[in-house]
Symmetry: C2
Subunit: 340 residues, 2 copies
Amino acid sequence: MIKRYASSTDVARLAGVSQSAVSRTYRPGASVSEETRRKVLAAADELGYRPSRIPQIMLTHRSHLVALVIGGMYNPFYSSVLEAFVARLQAEGWQPLLVHVDNDCAFDDVVPTLASYRVDAVVSALAILSDDSVRQLEQLRIPVIAFNASSFGDRVVSVSSDNVLAARLVADHLVARGARRLGLIAGLVESSAGRERQAGFTARAGELGVPVAIQAGGFRYEGGRAATRRLFEGPMAPDGIFAANDLMALGAIDALRVDLGLRVPDDVLVAGFDDIPSASWAAYDLTTVLQDAPRMVDEALRVLHSAAELTTARPGRIVVPPVLIIRGSTDRPVAPVQVA
Amino acid sequence: MIKRYASSTDVARLAGVSQSAVSRTYRPGASVSEETRRKVLAAADELGYRPSRIPQIMLTHRSHLVALVIGGMYNPFYSSVLEAFVARLQAEGWQPLLVHVDNDCAFDDVVPTLASYRVDAVVSALAILSDDSVRQLEQLRIPVIAFNASSFGDRVVSVSSDNVLAARLVADHLVARGARRLGLIAGLVESSAGRERQAGFTARAGELGVPVAIQAGGFRYEGGRAATRRLFEGPMAPDGIFAANDLMALGAIDALRVDLGLRVPDDVLVAGFDDIPSASWAAYDLTTVLQDAPRMVDEALRVLHSAAELTTARPGRIVVPPVLIIRGSTDRPVAPVQVA
DNA sequence: CGCAAGCTTGCATAGCTAGTCATGCGCGAT
DNA sequence: ATCGCGCATGACTAGCTATGCAAGCTTGCG
């Protein structure tokens, strides 16, 4: 194997000093004479030397690596969360190790890899942590922070929007704008966020005495479009639709306009969840729930800092308040809400 | 500092064997008796032990870490490339280290960090490699693979679509479908992909004797929308628009329909570049150029494998053929092409 | 029963950095 | 002149795993 990087010993030899002197040159506050520092830096520059973190990991038992588990990048909300996360982690001296999980490669399969790189923590932006993998990570004493997934509330720390409250607000809003027959496009049953949005919406609709028809859309555009067509094949054609994420809501709008020849918002109101960039595009102008991604990332980092000291994070749940963004897709005169 | 992970020595002590025996248990093909293996695995299970790659990195001078540099995740094309890349890297035994670069944090700032983790290679999915940082990486002998960026063709390996050819095909197509006054929405001058698309398009339009007006859109939806409005403030209102990426093309369609009250494709043809998911949504149905992301990732990995052996990749350029996807946004009868 | 061959096991070590400890030097104070 | 102090420097070591080497054991065969 060819040696790629120069070591502090190489630099020391070239500079005619000891390895300690090299190390001290890069350690702020260490005692090095100007003369020695100059010689070391000259030699380091010649060899392209940068101190390695690898031996330090062995000595301190801290890698400053954080595993970021992804697997649903089709949703732009998660790409923006990812980008925000990476930027913040980096700014605070962590390094994100990216791990992909999907049907071919389950979370359980990558746990040994994570452990072998001695990551300090795992952040999952997906709801597909299996019970088994959580137990494995627990045994390895790796703190786990789950994003928008509260299923394992007693084992891991979760950071999420207040999905139930947000969905209730959407129900209120749709009914206030005159909807009397609601349609709900659900996500995936595996997703606790999706389940919470469904629960909040149906609960509030029930309180308001408004019926809700439900179809699953799998969190994707095509799923939302197909689910909308199915809603209109049923006995109760809805006049207000809430999709558990924006992608499905955009599919719903296209189904209504293109497939069913209906107008939005004139014939049917539509609301989504996430506030992805395309939600505000002129063709859609979608009413949606803003998830405060920067705030969520902040909270996750706060947990990370405390978890870094201990061997495990104190399990719990952090909920970030949502904001209802009202746009053209529900733009109709306000009707009085009739509480049943 | 609290010790988080068990070491092979810990396992050896518990199992009543030597550290070598533990190591050999996890090394396929090594000579270990069934009895010893059983004891080791039992002890390892109890302690939650996984072999560490960290000392191995020191011994072999190979980290199997690949730095993935991102910074434009607003474009869904890059999220899909990222996801594909991570999945493939992982399947082949690499681990992606994610690095974010933006205005606050230039590439040069993160080079020391990359070096300190002893990454085996750097993959940049962005065109913002500075000349200085390429030189730094060259001195550190870290191979660099640039995605869709050929500016540093003589220093790094680049993998990209055939942007020039694709843009020529788009020009042909728009003119064949009857456009006689073309508009081009350019990306960023820093992007070589954008420059190539512009060059190919204007060159072919020139050959066909069709005039082209140009406005910059910065690769973003809002930029594309504003650029389109500016195109129509000029002396030559275009009847065919090519945007250097899909996001700007979608902005163009919305500008035409919502801001300018025109019809697509009846009044103006629109084509984009990337084939992001929203390009095929019913509201847009955008003609675009498919960049074969899986193929591009394949090629990048091939380079990576050869670069892993050497200390540096042989500079060069790999070009992947593009595919023109014709959809409704240019759906008009074919007119005969008049070569000037 | 003796010996060789093969399998198994433990010991020792490389690889790199940060920090501890001891040493040496210069200089001011006594 | 001597002592002590502060600074600078080098030697040494911890931390963990894979592997070469030597030694011990078993087994089969003569």
